[in-house]
C-alpha cells in the first residue's frame, strides 16, 4: 500500500482550536494519518493510503467538516467575498437586538416593585426579571460570547453548557446557604465586583471582535497565550463549572440584592433556597442563549449567527465597560438608562 502526502487549502480556520478540531476530524477518517493544519498558510497536509483522486478526497473530507464551517479545496479560494455580504446582514440584525434590549430597559416594565417577604417563589420571579434586565448586559453577554465561541470551535458544546449551568445553580445555592449561615460577616465588596465586571466586559469585547471576524480579516492573531487560555476553557471539564461559579460575583443589582436577602435570612437552608430559586429563575434565558447558540452554530446560518452575536456582544461589552468604569469613578457616567 502506498502512502501519499497531500496538501489542501482549508478555509474557515481562524483559531488554534480550529486546527485541533480539523486535525482530530481528519485523523478519525480511516486511511488518513498525520493530518496537520498550517494556520498561517491555511493549508492542511496529511498522509493517506486511499486511492481517491484529489478532487474526490477534498469533497469527501469537506463533507466531514463543513458542518462546522470549514472546507477543503485544491485551489486556494479567493478570499470569501461572501464574508462581506454576511457582515452587512449581521450588522442590522445585531444592532436591532441591541436596540430592543435597551428599549426594554428604558420602558420601565422591568421595574416592578416586589414587596413583602422574600420567599423562594419571589426570588424565582426576581430571577426571571433579572435575566432580561440590565444584568443581561454582563452575565448574558458573557454567556452569549463564550457560548458562541465554544460552539464555533468545539463539537461537544452541549456538555460544556450543561456543566456551566449546573455549576451556576449549585454555586449560587451553596454560596447563598453560606451567606445565610454566617450572617452579616461577609461584606460584598462593590469595587471587587466592578473590577470583575470590567474584566468580563473586556472578555466580551475580545470575543465579540473575534466572532465578527475583525481579527481574522486583518490577520492580526490574538496572543497565543490568550488562545491557549480559551482552549483550556473549552476543553476542560471543571472550567465551565468555575465560570458558572464566578457569575455569582459579577456585578448585577439583582444578584446583589438577593445576596443581601440571603445574608439576612438567618439560616443556611433559607439562604440556600433563596439563591437557588433566583438562579433557577435566570436559567431559562441563559439556557436559551447558550443552547440557542449551539443550535444556530450547527445550522445553515452559522456565519450570520456568529457575526450577529459578535455585534450584540460588542455592544453589550461596551455598555458594561463604560458602566463599570463609571461605577469605579474612573469616568463620569456617560448615560443613564
Amino acid at each position: 500500500m502506498n502512502q501519499k502526502t497531500y496538501i489542501f487549502h482549508v478555509s474557515g480556520t481562524h483559531c488554534p482550536s480550529c486546527k485541533i478540531f480539523i486535525e482530530d476530524a481528519l485523523n478519525e477518517q480511516i486511511g488518513i494519518k498525520q493530518a496537520s493544519v498550517n494556520l498561517k498558510n491555511e493549508t492542511v497536509s496529511f498522509e493517506t493510503s486511499l486511492d481517491e483522486s484529489q478532487h474526490k478526497l477534498a469533497e469527501m473530507l469537506t463533507e466531514k467538516i463543513k458542518r462546522n464551517g470549514y472546507s477543503l479545496s485544491i485551489e486556494k479560494k479567493a478570499k470569501d467575498r461572501n464574508d462581506h455580504a454576511v457582515i452587512w446582514q449581521a450588522l442590522p440584525i445585531g444592532l436591532g437586538f441591541l436596540a430592543l434590549f435597551f428599549l426594554l430597559q428604558k420602558s420601565g416594565i422591568l421595574n416592578l416593585g416586589i414587596g413583602g417577604q422574600i420567599t423562594p417563589v419571589t426570588s424565582f420571579v426576581i430571577g426571571l426579571i433579572a435575566s432580561v434586565s440590565s444584568c443581561l448586559a454582563i452575565v448574558g453577554g458573557l454567556v452569549l460570547s463564550l457560548s458562541a465561541k465554544i460552539s464555533e470551535d468545539n463539537v461537544r458544546d452541549t456538555k460544556t453548557f450543561t456543566l456551566f449551568h449546573a455549576g451556576r445553580l449549585v454555586s449560587f445555592a451553596v454560596l447563598g446557604g453560606v451567606l445565610g449561615a454566617i450572617g452579616s460577616a461577609v461584606g460584598i465588596n462593590f469595587t471587587l465586583t466592578a473590577i470583575l465586571g470590567i474584566l468580563a466586559s473586556l472578555v466580551m469585547l475580545l470575543l465579540g471582535l473575534n466572532l465578527v471576524g475583525v481579527f481574522a480579516k486583518s490577520k492580526i492573531a490574538l496572543p497565543s497565550g490568550l488562545f491557549n487560555f480559551f482552549r483550556k476553557i473549552e476543553h476542560k471539564t471543571f472550567t465551565p463549572l468555575v465560570v458558572g461559579f464566578a457569575t455569582f460575583f459579577l456585578p448585577c443589582g439583582f444578584t446583589q440584592s438577593m445576596q443581601v436577602s440571603a445574608l439576612s435570612s438567618g439560616s443556611f437552608m433559607s439562604g440556600f433556597l433563596i439563591m437557588f430559586a433566583f438562579a433557577l429563575g435566570t436559567l431559562p434565558m441563559l439556557a436559551l442563549l447558550s443552547f440557542g447558540s449551539a443550535s444556530f452554530a450547527h445550522g445553515k446560518y452559522a456565519p450570520l449567527f456568529f457575526k450577529s452575536a459578535g455585534i450584540v456582544v460588542i455592544g453589550l461589552g461596551l455598555f458594561a465597560l463604560f458602566s463599570g468604569m463609571a461605577g469605579l469613578g474612573i469616568i463620569s457616567p456617560l448615560f443613564s438608562i
Binding site: P92, L110, N111, G253, F335
Partner: protein, 131 residues
C-alpha cells in the same frame, strides 16, 4: 439583503440607540430633570434631599444649598434592581439598601459642587448640585 438597505437600517438603528442613551435627560418625564420636584426641604437647620431609588434614581438632578448640614434620604420601594446597590464615591459610601425603606445618609456640610450617586454597575446615576 441589499447592501444599501442594510446601511440605511444600520444608520437608523445607530441613531436610535444614540438617542436612547444621550437624549434622555430632556424629555423623559420620569427622569425628573425638567420637573420641578420638591425634593429638598430644610427642617431644624438640616437640609434633607430625597431621592427615590427604583429602576433608576429620581429626580436625576436636584439642586440644594451648599454649606449647611445635609442629609440624603434614599427611598426604596420593592427595589431589587441595581439602584438598590448605591455607591457615593465622594463620601466613600457603598451599601445595598433594604428592599423597601428609607436610608438616611449624612453628607456632612457639603461645599459648593455636585455630589454624585451611582448604582454599583454604573448605569443608573443621580447628582445633587450644591450652590
Amino acid at each position: 439583503m441589499n447592501k444599501t438597505a442594510s446601511i440605511i437600517i444600520t444608520t437608523a438603528l445607530v441613531i436610535g440607540i444614540g438617542i436612547m442613551f444621550l437624549g434622555n435627560s430632556g424629555d423623559n418625564p420620569n427622569s425628573g430633570a425638567t420637573e420641578s420636584v420638591q425634593n429638598v426641604e430644610i427642617r431644624d437647620g438640616v437640609q434633607y434631599v430625597t431621592i427615590n431609588a427604583q429602576g433608576g434614581y429620581s429626580p436625576r438632578i436636584s439642586s440644594a444649598q451648599a454649606n449647611i448640614p445635609t442629609k440624603l434620604i434614599v427611598k426604596t420601594n420593592g427595589t431589587y434592581d441595581c439602584s438598590a446597590a448605591l455607591v457615593i464615591r465622594s463620601i466613600g459610601y457603598q451599601k445595598i439598601l433594604p428592599q423597601t425603606g428609607e436610608e438616611v445618609i449624612d453628607l456632612g456640610i457639603p461645599q459648593a459642587g455636585a455630589v454624585q450617586g451611582l448604582c454599583s454597575m454604573g448605569m443608573y446615576n443621580f447628582s445633587v448640585n450644591f450652590n
